[in-house]
Amino acid sequence: MPFTNKLFGGVVQSSRLALDARMERQGLIQSNIANLETPGYVSQDFSFAAVMKSAMLKTGNLARTDEQHIGLDPVTLSESMEFSRDRRPVDLDEEMQKLSENQLMFQVTTKILGNKFDGLKMAIDEGGK
């Protein structure tokens, strides 16, 4: 078992997945805001928690060297799209609120990840001295 799996499992792995999911959600929120008044457009979203749950269950080593697969496994995502709500047009207030929430959580996650990396470096450098 290469040490890299143990080192970067846990918080690093789930943070990575979380960031991927946040980015995907961001795309939908932006599409919604862009199409506020487009006739026929229905608001899109997915349940962040549901996607995270199924992504964490499935986690193997997602190939990151394949350009087309950078980020969250598309199959996981499409399965979770079942959780999006019923069809209705875009509600601006709701989207603005989601925008703030998504951004905030993204930043929280990057902070946690950054801290974790710092911690690892320190542990390696100081370890067993």
Binding site: M1, P2, T4, L19, D20, R64, L120, G128
Partner: protein, 96 residues
Amino acid sequence: MIAISFDPIVTSGNVPVKVNETQGAGFGDILQESIAAVNEKAHEASVLSEGLVSGQHSNIHETMIAMEESSISFRMLAKAQSKIIDAYKELMRLQL
């Protein structure tokens, strides 16, 4: 990378057991695996960074994560290597 092999022969009963073979092989495997893992991380980081700077994708967070993981992996390996060398030197001193 220094390949470590011990030469003590331990006798258990009448049968001389070569300790170094089992120990050496296991250890060597782990080392090989680790080097391969570090290489893989480095490769990932390099592919993603290239893609990012050349505009093929703009997945910044994945690239940053790959870079950090690669850097930390190297660090880990370097640390492990220096520890192994220290242990080896210690051992050589003891044997003499």
